[in-house]
C-alpha cells in the first residue's frame, strides 16, 4: 500500500480497540517466565553446546602470539575458533569494527576467540586459559584532546548534512543585543539493558538458524549472510523476545557470529551470551560529545542567531553523534548554522543509543535555552514560546505536519504548578533540601520506513499476524494485535501475533522510535488486503463492507467473519510504503518536561522529587504501553543527567566501569512519581494509523530539565554531564 496522500477516515478511527489502555498480551508470559529469550531456547534443537568469548585486552595493536594449547586440553572443550581458523569473514555493513578481531585489534574486548565446550562452566574456565601476547600501539582515546583534529564527516541518511547554514549567522550573532556562547559536554554512555547480547546458532547442512536478541531482523539477516559469505536465503533469525536493546541490538554483534562459527566448527548447536563486562567494551555505546552553542537575541527575546557545533569521536570509518540536528528545527531564528565534526578515537565502537543525536543534543541545547532565558530576564517558557516556529526554519515552505509544543508547555506549566517556581535560584529551602524546578522542551523526529506484515484468517476464525517486527519490551505484540482486531472487527482474544522471525514479511523493525507507527501501518495494509479477500469470498462489495463484532456486514447482509474462512484460510499480505509526505512536511514529536529536584544543602546529593512529561506525538495507540515507554525514557534521562558515565582510561583506551556496579543507572529509590500526559492528536501525514513515536521523545530534554532544576535549586550551573555531587559541592552554602 502506498501512502502518499494524507490519511482520511479509516477503520482505525473507530478507536474501539486502538487507543485503549490494554494490558500487554505477552505480559503473562513474561511475568511467569514462559517467554523464551535467546539464551533460554533450551529445547528448540538438541545437543546444545556452550561458547564463551575471549576479548582482546588492548585497545589497539596486534596479536603476536596466541597459545590455545592449555585451553584445548581443558575438560569438555570441543573447539576453539579464532580469526586464524574461522575462514574468510567479511565485515557487516552495520559494523565499524570486525566482530572477530585478530591479528589486528581495533578496540578493547574486541572478540578474538570463542571456546566451545560441553558446559558453560567448562567453556568459561577454558577461555581463561588462553594466553595472548600483543604488540600494543598508541591510540587516541581522549575526545577533548582529539577535538582539534576532528574532520567533516560525510552526510548520512539519519544524520543529515555535516554543515548547515541560513542567513548570516556570524554577523547576526556579533550584533545581537544579548549573547550566549557556551560549551557543554556529555559523556560516553552504555545501553545497559538487562538481557545481554545472546544467540543460539544451529546449522542444518548449509542453512543457519540463529535464535538471537535483535531489534532489526532484516538488517541482521543480511549482515550475517554477508559476514559468513553465504546466501541470505540460507540464514534465518528468530528473535521473539528482546530483553531491552536501546539501540545496542540494532546490529548483529559478536554473540551471533561467535555462535555461528562455533556451531560450524563443532558440528553442534552453540549458544553464546556476552558476559556482562563485554556488553560495555565489546559492543557499541553512545559516544561522548562536546557541544558549543551560540545564541543571539533581541532585547525582547527573539532569537536572531542560533548556532550549534558538535564534536564526537569513533573508530576509523565510524560515524558521528549528530547532536546538532534538533537545533535545525526546533526554534525560529533567521540566521543559523550547525556543524558536526568527527574525530578518530580508538575506543569501542560508538553507535546509536535511544534517541541518538537528540538525546545528548537536547541535553545541551535546552540547558543553553535556560541560560539564555535568564540572561534576557524571561521565564524559560515565555522565551521558548516567543521563538516558536510553525515551519522548518531552514526551509519555511515546509510546515510541520503537527506542532503542539506551546500547548505542551501550557498544560505542563498548569499541571506542574510552574507559577510557584522562583525565577532566581536558591530561594527555596525545605529542611536540608534546596528545592528547585526546571523545564525543557522535548523534541524528536518521526521517521517513516517501509513495513510489511501477513495476516491470516483461519478456519477457526482466529486472526494471525506475522511480521519480522520485534518487541523489545515496548509493547509491539499488543499494539499489533490491537491494530488487527480493530481492522478485522474481532476482539483482541481472537488475534495471535507472531514476531521477530525472518521468515515473516520484513518490517521497519524497532529503532529510532519508528517501530510503532510503521509496523502497525504495515499490519493495517495487510488487513486491508485480507478484508478485500474476505469480501470477495463472501461476494460482498468491498467498498461498503463493515467489519465489526466478529461479523462482516454489507447492506442488510451480515455474516460471521469465520464463515469467510470456512472453506479454507484467507491471507492478506502487504507493506506500507511512503511517498513524499515526509519531504513536504516536517514530522516531529514534541514534549514539555518538568522536573522538581532537591539538592542536599550539606552533601550536594540530588534527588528528583517530581517529574511530568506532556507529549504531543500523534495518535497514542495504547496509552498504557506508551506511558511505560515515556516513564522508562524519563528514567533514562535522569540517569543521563545525574549518574551515567562510562569512565575512559585515557592511557589504555577502555571503559573502566564495565559492570552494573560501576556503571550506575537509576534504581527505584531515585525515581519519584512520574506523570505523563498525551495531548489528543492524530497526524494524518504520518500513516493511516495517524501515530508517531514516543519511545525516544520521552528521553529528549529530560536531562536538561533536571539540570535546569538543579540550577534553580542550588544556583550552580553545571554544563558537563553527569551532574554528580562533586560538581555542585563547591557552590553550596557554608557548612554549619
Amino acid at each position: 500500500m502506498r501512502f502518499d496522500t494524507p490519511a482520511t477516515t479509516n477503520p482505525i478511527d473507530q478507536l474501539k480497540v486502538i487507543g485503549q489502555p490494554t494490558d500487554r498480551i505477552d505480559g503473562p508470559l513474561k511475568t511467569t517466565g514462559l517467554a523464551r529469550y535467546a539464551y533460554e531456547q533450551h529445547d528448540v534443537v538438541a545437543n546444545q553446546a556452550y561458547g564463551y568469548p575471549v576479548g582482546a585486552t588492548i585497545a589497539k595493536g596486534r596479536i603476536t602470539a596466541m597459545d590455545l594449547a592449555a585451553a584445548r586440553r581443558a575438560p569438555g572443550v570441543l573447539t576453539i575458533v579464532t580469526a586464524e581458523n574461522a575462514g574468510k569473514l567479511v565485515k557487516g555493513n552495520f559494523n565499524t569494527a570486525k566482530l572477530l578481531g585478530g591479528p589486528e585489534i581495533e578496540h578493547y574486548h574486541q572478540a578474538i576467540a570463542v571456546v566451545v565446550a560441553e558446559t558453560f562452566e567448562q567453556a568459561r574456565a577454558a577461555a581463561a586459559l588462553i594466553a595472548v601476547d600483543y604488540a600494543e600501539e598508541a591510540g587516541s582515546f581522549d575526545l577533548a584532546a582529539a577535538r582539534d583534529s576532528a574532520e567533516k564527516p560525510e552526510a548520512s541518511d539519519f544524520g543529515g548534512p555535516p554543515d548547515t547554514s541560513v542567513g548570516d549567522f556570524a554577523g547576526a550573532f556579533a550584533s545581537a543585543h544579548a549573547r550566549l556562547d557556551q560549551t557543554y559536554t556529555t559523556p560516553d554512555q552504555a545501553h545497559a539493558m538487562m538481557e545481554p547480547h545472546a544467540t543460539l546458532a544451529a546449522w542444518e547442512g548449509d542453512k543457519l538458524t540463529l535464535w538471537t536478541s535483535n531489534q532489526m531482523i532484516a538488517w541482521g539477516k543480511a549482515d550475517v549472510a554477508r559476514t559468513l559469505g553465504i546466501g541470505k536465503d540460507k540464514v534465518r533469525l528468530i528473535s521473539p523476545f528482546v530483553g531491552g536493546g536501546f539501540g545496542s541490538k540494532l546490529f548483529v554483534r559478536a554473540d551471533a557470529l561467535l555462535a555461528a562459527l562455533g556451531a560450524r566448527a563443532s558440528g553442534r548447536p552453540v549458544k553464546v551470551a556476552l558476559p556482562r563486562p563485554y556488553t560495555f567494551n565489546n559492543t557499541t555505546h553512545r559516544p561522548a560529545t562536546i557541544q558549543r552553542i551560540r545564541i543571539g537575541a533581541s532585547a525582547e527575546g527573539r532569537i536572531t542567531a542560533i548556532g550549534h557545533e558538535g564534536w564526537s569521536g569513533d573508530l576509523p570509518g565510524g560515524a558521528p553523534e549528530t547532536a546538532v540536528n534538533q537545533t535545525r528545527l526546533i526554534y525560529a531564528g533567521e540566521n543559523r548554522m550547525t556543524a558536526t565534526r568527527l574525530a578518530v578515537l580508538h575506543l569501542p565502537e560508538g553507535n546509536a543509543m535511544r534517541a541518538p543525536g537528540e538525546a545528548p543534543g537536547m541535553m545541551a541545547l535546552e540547558l543553553a535555552m535556560d541560560e539564555m532565558a535568564e540572561t534576557l530576564g524571561l521565564d524559560p517558557i515565555a522565551f521558548r514560546t516567543l521563538n516558536e516556529t510553525e515551519v522548518d526554519p531552514e526551509n519555511p515552505k515546509r510546515p510541520f505536519s503537527q506542532r503542539q509544543l506551546v500547548e505542551c508547555y501550557r498544560i505542563g506549566a498548569e499541571r506542574f504548578g510552574w507559577d510557584r517556581r522562583r525565577p532566581h535560584p536558591r530561594q527555596v529551602r525545605e529542611g536540608r533540601w534546596l528545592v528547585g524546578m526546571g523545564m525543557a522542551a522535548g523534541f524528536r523526529n518521526n521517521l517513516l520506513a517501509t513495513s510489511g506484515a501477513r495476516v491470516r484468517l483461519g478456519e477457526d476464525g482466529m486472526v494471525t499476524v506475522e511480521t519480522d517486527m520485534t518487541d523489545i519490551g515496548t509493547g509491539t505484540y499488543t499494539i499489533v494485535a490491537q491494530t488487527a482486531a480493530e481492522m478485522m472487527g474481532v476482539p483482541l482474544e481472537s488475534v495471535i501475533v507472531r514476531l521477530g522471525d525472518s521468515s515473516f514479511p520484513v518490517s521497519a523493525g524497532s529503532g529510532g522510535q519508528w517501530g510503532a507507527n510503521n509496523s502497525t501501518a504495515g499490519v493495517y495494509a495487510a488487513c486491508v488486503k485480507l478484508r478485500e479477500a474476505v469480501a470477495q469470498r463472501l461476494g460482498f462489495n468491498s467498498s461498503d463492507t463493515v467489519f465489526a463484532e466478529g461479523e462482516v456486514r454489507s447492506g442488510n447482509r451480515s455474516v460471521p467473519l469465520a464463515q469467510a474462512a470456512a472453506s479454507g484460510a484467507l491471507t492478506g499480505e502487504d507493506s506500507i510504503e511512503y511517498g513524499d509526505l515526509a519531504k513536504t512536511h516536517q514530522q516531529s514529536t514534541f514534549a514539555a518536561h518538568f522536573v522538581e529536584v532537591g539538592v542536599d544543602a550539606f552533601t550536594a546529593e540530588v534527588r528528583v522529587r517530581r517529574m511530568l512529561a506532556v507529549c504531543a506525538a500523534g495518535r497514542i495507540l495504547n496509552p498504557k504501553s506508551a506511558r511505560s515507554q515515556v516513564i522508562g525514557a524519563m528514567t533514562m534521562g535522569v540517569g543521563a543527567a545525574l549518574m551515567e558515565e562510562l569512565a575512559v582510561d585515557k592511557r589504555r583506551g577502555f571503559f573502566v566501569n564495565h559492570d552494573l556496579a560501576g556503571y550506575e543507572v537509576p534504581v527505584h529509590a531515585d525515581i519519584p512519581h512520574q506523570e505523563v500526559v498525551f495531548l489528543d492528536e492524530a497526524d494524518p501525514m504520518s500513516s493511516p494509523m495517524k501515530a508517531k513515536g514516543v519511545g525516544e521523545l520521552g528521553i529528549c530534554g529530560v536531562g536538561a530539565a533536571v539540570a535546569n532544576a538543579i540550577y534553580n535549586a542550588s544556583g550552580t550551573r553545571v554544563r558537563h554531564y553527569p551532574i554528580t555531587l562533586d560538581k555542585l559541592i563547591g557552590g553550596l552554602p557554608e557548612n554549619v
Binding site: 568459561r124 552533601t603 569512565a647 573502566v656 534504581v667 555531587l725
Partner: protein, 316 residues
C-alpha cells in the same frame, strides 16, 4: 572459574584445621563476594570449606553487658535484631544502607568484614593491580580513581574498603573473635583488624592462613545519638563515596568513623577531640596528610560536609 573441591566443616576448629591443610583453601559463607570473584578468576581457591552449618548464627549477651554476634549471622538478621536496633542503632543503619535486601539475606557478619575492594581495576584481570597480582603495578594511580582512597594509601595501592558495616563496628569498638588451625582462640580489636596496604596491598587483614572468624563482640552500649550517613551517586544500591558512622553526645562530643576514604574504616582520637568545635575542625584533624587524586579530591570537602550533616542531625 577454576575447578575446586568442597567440604562442609563440622566445627569451627575443624574448619580452621581443614583450611590449614590446603594451601589454596578458603572459607565460604554467604558467597555473595567470593563467588563473584571466583567467576572472574580474581579469587582462585582450590578448595572451599563451607562454614554455613557451624551454628555460628546467634546473637548472645556477653557478661560485660555487650553482645556477641556469631560470624554467620546474616546482615538482615543483625540489622533487625531488637537489641541492635535499640542499643547499637548506628550498626543497624549501616547494614541497611548496604547492598540490597536479597544480598543482605545471604551476606554474613564475617563475610562482610572480609569483602574485598571495589576498585574497578581490581575487577579487570587484564589490568595491572598490586592487590590482585603483587608486583604488577597499580592501574588506579593515574587512572580512574573517583571512588578510591585519600587516607592510608601507599604508592602500591589506593583502594578503599567498601564495607558499611565495618565503619559502624569501628565506631562501636567491636572486636573480632577467631580460632586458629591449632585450635587457639584470640580476639582482635577492629582497629587492628584491617591492614593498610604499604608494600603489600594483597594482605588486607590480621588473619593468618586458616584462621576462622567465629564472632564479633560489641562492648556495652554507648549512649548518644547513633547516626549513619552514607553519601553516594544514587539513592540506593551503591557503595559509599563517603560515609560517616557516629555516636554523638548532648554537647556535640562523641566519636565518629568515616568510610569510603581509606583501606579501612577511618577513625582518629584527635579528630574526635575536635568534634565539639564542629565539622570543619574535626574533619581537618581527621584528614591531615590526605593524598588525593584529580578524581577524588572532592572527598575532602564531602567528608567535612557529611560530618556537618551528621552533627546537624544529632542536634535536631
Amino acid at each position: 572459574m577454576r575447578s575446586f573441591t568442597y567440604e562442609r566443616a563440622a566445627s569451627p576448629a575443624e574448619a580452621a584445621a581443614a583450611a590449614a591443610r590446603q594451601a589454596k583453601a578458603k572459607f565460604i559463607a554467604g558467597g555473595t563476594n567470593l563467588l563473584d570473584l571466583m567467576k572472574l578468576e580474581i579469587e582462585t581457591p582450590g578448595h572451599l570449606i563451607d562454614v554455613n552449618g557451624l551454628n555460628l548464627d546467634t546473637i548472645e549477651p556477653t557478661p560485660e553487658g555487650g553482645l556477641r554476634i556469631g560470624a554467620l549471622v546474616r546482615n538482615t538478621d543483625l540489622a533487625a535484631d531488637p537489641r541492635i536496633r535499640r542499643d547499637y542503632g548506628v550498626l543497624s543503619r549501616a547494614l541497611l544502607a548496604g547492598a540490597s535486601g536479597q544480598l543482605r539475606n545471604r551476606a554474613t557478619t564475617a563475610g562482610n568484614l572480609l569483602q574485598r575492594t571495589r576498585c574497578p581495576y581490581f575487577y579487570d584481570t587484564a589490568q595491572p593491580c598490586n592487590k590482585r597480582k603483587p608486583g604488577s603495578g597499580c592501574s588506579a594511580i593515574g587512572g580512574f580513581s573517583r571512588h578510591l582512597a585519600v587516607m592510608g594509601t601507599s604508592e602500591a595501592c589506593i583502594a578503599t574498603n567498601p564495607s558499611d558495616m565495618a565503619v559502624a563496628m569501628r565506631v562501636l569498638d567491636a572486636a573480632i573473635e577467631t580460632v586458629k588451625p591449632d585450635g587457639a582462640a584470640r580476639t582482635i580489636p577492629i582497629a587492628e583488624f584491617h591492614r593498610l596496604p604499604g608494600e603489600t596491598p594483597h594482605v588486607e587483614n590480621a588473619l593468618e592462613q586458616g584462621e576462622l572468624i567465629t564472632a564479633v563482640t560489641l562492648p556495652k552500649p554507648a549512649g548518644g545519638r547513633h547516626i549513619y550517613r552514607k553519601v553516594r551517586d544514587r539513592a540506593s544500591y551503591a557503595f559509599a563515596l563517603v560515609s560517616v558512622a557516629a555516636v554523638i553526645g548532648r554537647h556535640g562530643e562523641g566519636r565518629f568513623a568515616v568510610g569510603g576514604i581509606a583501606p579501612k574504616p577511618w577513625r582518629m582520637q584527635a579528630a574526635e577531640a575536635e568534634l565539639p568545635r564542629g565539622a570543619k575542625a574535626a574533619s581537618a584533624a581527621l584528614l591531615a596528610g590526605a593524598k588525593t587524586t584529580h578524581d577524588n579530591a572532592f572527598k575532602l570537602s564531602l567528608v567535612e560536609r557529611t560530618l556537618g550533616a551528621v552533627l546537624h542531625e544529632a542536634r535536631g
